[in-house]
């Protein structure tokens, strides 16, 4: 019986996710749809091997998976939170700003 090497799989998955999202970031002003495709691929890998996409790489819309681009989103600050509206699908993301004590 051959057994899966889950540790190695996860290690590889993390590397590939990083690679893909960096690449999508690079081309997002040239080919918006392709960079969305890369994010979908990265998410598929993350879901299959149960790896978290690191927080600093989660720079895309949760609903339509288009990466955030300054001309396709609206950023407002209101009631001590950052409100990011995706203009492709209209999804709203709210990030609270908290004081660190």
């Amino acid at each position: 019986m051959l057994r899966r090497e889950k540790k190695l799989e996860r290690e590889l998955a993390e590397l590939r996710i990083k690679k893909l999202i960096e690449m999508s970031e690079k081309i997002k002003f040239e080919d918006y749809d392709l960079s969305r495709r890369y994010i979908i691929l990265a998410r598929k890998i993350a879901m299959k091997y149960r790896v978290k996409i690191p927080k600093e790489l989660r720079n895309f819309c949760k609903k339509c998976f288009y990466p955030y681009r300054h001309d396709r989103i609206r950023v407002r600050i209101k009631k001590s939170r950052v409100i990011i509206t995706c203009l492709n699908c209209g999804n709203v993301k709210r990030v609270p700003i908290r004081n660190r004590r």
Partner: protein, 108 residues
């Protein structure tokens, strides 16, 4: 249970790694027009690779072809049948393929 130690950067790991962004060239194919297509991989599906060449984006099937790939410090020739899975499946299935093959040189 015998455990295999597979090194991360070894040349056999091409089949598990990300192919988008790699420089490839089609070396073997039953279609003579496809031989010599050279460029950077733009997109990948289960059965095809999209290669960006000087003359636009070409779609090449994986099965039955052989690719020349630059991977790390090696220049490899990889048979397309080994990577003919969905891109996210390739991690799991590629490791299985490496483990299954006898006398594979893993720790180079």
């Amino acid at each position: 249970m015998l455990k295999l130690k597979i090194k991360l950067g070894s040349p056999a790991m091409v089949i598990t790694d990300e192919w988008i962004g790699m420089e490839v060239e089609v070396v073997e194919s039953s279609n003579p027009c496809e031989i010599g297509i050279k460029g950077v991989v733009v997109d990948e599906t289960m059965r095809t690779l999209r290669i960006k060449t000087d003359r636009g984006v070409k779609v090449v099937e994986k099965k039955g072809r052989a690719f020349k790939v630059k991977y790390g410090r090696w220049l490899l020739k990889v048979r397309g049948d080994l990577i003919a899975f969905r891109p996210e499946d390739r991690i799991k299935k590629g490791i299985m393929l490496i483990k299954k093959s006898k006398l594979a040189k893993i720790d180079v």
